[in-house]
């Protein structure tokens, strides 16, 4: 196919699959071995991949909502790129969850045909952002934490999870630089931007505790060499956040372990009304037109 004739390149196809958009994507793990490693509980592996996949899926959706609303075109492209990377991680992880579950479901069933109480992401992912400072504060916390977790999963005994993590670490390193540089720019900017960045860090702080709350699924899988315990990422996250706050001239927020975010944990399916809004938007078309192509 020649680059010289873009029109021919676009039309030179024997099937029309690429022109149809719907929920029926091809398996992103096509050809990757699907076995669950010996000694690993398949139900736990399913639950853990759902947790990590839902974190990425819901955070990606929140980022997509900023496209057309960001202060500059360059930031819309950045947020769209970060959202796309997270969506890719979500597709791989939900597909891995469906494989390990072995009940005939696929990534689309898990993304589009589950109810709110069946989602397993941390509540940090579903929060709405009051302004751009709130967005970059939340993004910084989320990607700093996720980078630390996935970095630990590169050595997982589940080879699929390890490969997804190794790929994600490279992407999240870029995401974290983007978020950190915005926090520094706003914190170290005008009096107004400093005030708003400080308020945003203060607002997100109580949501941090939930990220490290022990949970039996990752803890059991950590014993089997598959997962990292929820609490394990804390030291790295604290160190990075301290580094960014210092560079931004922001005081460390005064709170709180934040262990009890509104009294529930997203990992157990306890979510806020924010998730209902997200799912109404994200799942609406897929539920209204099952198998639809457009």
């Amino acid at each position: 196919m020649s680059f010289d004739d873009a029109y021919a390149a676009l039309t030179d196809h024997q099937d029309d699959t690429r022109w149809a958009y719907g929920t029926g994507f091809s398996d992103p793990l096509a050809g990757v071995p699907t076995d669950v490693p010996g000694g690993v509980d398949a139900a736990d592996l399913t639950a853990y991949c759902l947790m990590l996949g839902d974190d990425a899926l819901i955070m990606s959706h929140r980022l997509q909502q900023w496209v057309t609303r960001a202060p500059e075109l360059e930031d819309e492209m950045a947020l769209a790129n970060i959202a796309l990377d997270l969506l890719g991680q979500a597709r791989l992880l939900l597909t891995r969850a469906a494989q390990a579950e072995g009940a005939g479901r696929d990534e689309d069933d898990l993304a589009f045909r589950r109810d709110a109480a069946d989602f397993r992401h941390v509540r940090l992912a579903e929060r709405a952002d009051a302004d751009f400072a709130h967005l970059v504060a939340r993004l910084l916390v989320f990607v700093t934490w996720r980078l630390a977790v996935l970095d630990g999963l590169r050595g997982s005994r589940d080879p699929v999870l390890a490969a997804i993590a190794a790929k994600g670490v490279k992407e999240l390193t870029y995401h974290r630089e983007y978020a950190a540089q915005w926090v520094v720019r706003l914190g170290d900017g005008t009096a107004e931007s400093h005030r708003r960045m400080r308020a945003a860090m203060h607002a997100v702080w109580p949501a941090i505790g939930e990220l490290f709350r022990p949970h039996p699924v990752p803890d059991r899988l950590a014993e089997a060499g598959v997962a990292v315990p929820a609490a394990a990422a804390r030291a790295e996250v604290d160190a990075v956040l301290s580094q960014v706050l210092a560079a931004a001239g922001l005081p460390p927020p005064t709170a709180t372990d934040g262990g009890a975010t509104d009294g529930g944990a997203g990992r157990d399916g306890a979510h806020t009304a924010a998730l209902d809004e997200i799912l109404a938007e994200m799942q609406g078309v897929a539920r209204a037109t099952p198998g639809g192509l457009w």
Binding site: M1, H13, S26, L29, E74, G88, E171, Y174, Q181
Partner: protein, 168 residues
Amino acid sequence: MTGPEVVPAAVAAAAVTDPELPMLTLADLGILRGVEESAGAVTVRITPTYSGCPAMEAIRADLIGALRRAGHRRVEVRTVLDPPWSTDWITPQGRRKLAAAGIAPPGPAPRRSPGPVPLTLGARPAPVPCPRCGQPDTERLAAFGATACRELRRCPGCREPFEHVKEI
């Protein structure tokens, strides 16, 4: 079914171009990880550049189409995730083609040292020369460009904006 008109599968697969960087073949980009022919069936292994690479579906369709036109009816395209793609896998020929198209090729991918991934906070990365006039250093306009693998830069010499394939 084979005949004298059949092009070897490895040759046909290597000539397929990337939908987002169409000056590069999949082999130039380093995402083609293997082509095997066995008992009349072809297995092609590819790896995504980024987890969310939206071109994977198109690449899969392009490979199957190109191999069919080359005379191979039974084609399977498999995804390989490990080891993850690195810009270090872009071939020397691929780098020359990028530069000729006005896109600055990547420098060496970052080396990973033991311990947590360091946060650089924009500490000065290696300079990126201008692909048009050769000015040795240029400024970054945006870390995220039109596709996941590119960033947008500008040359202080010729004043032209250009894209750069980010090291990963």
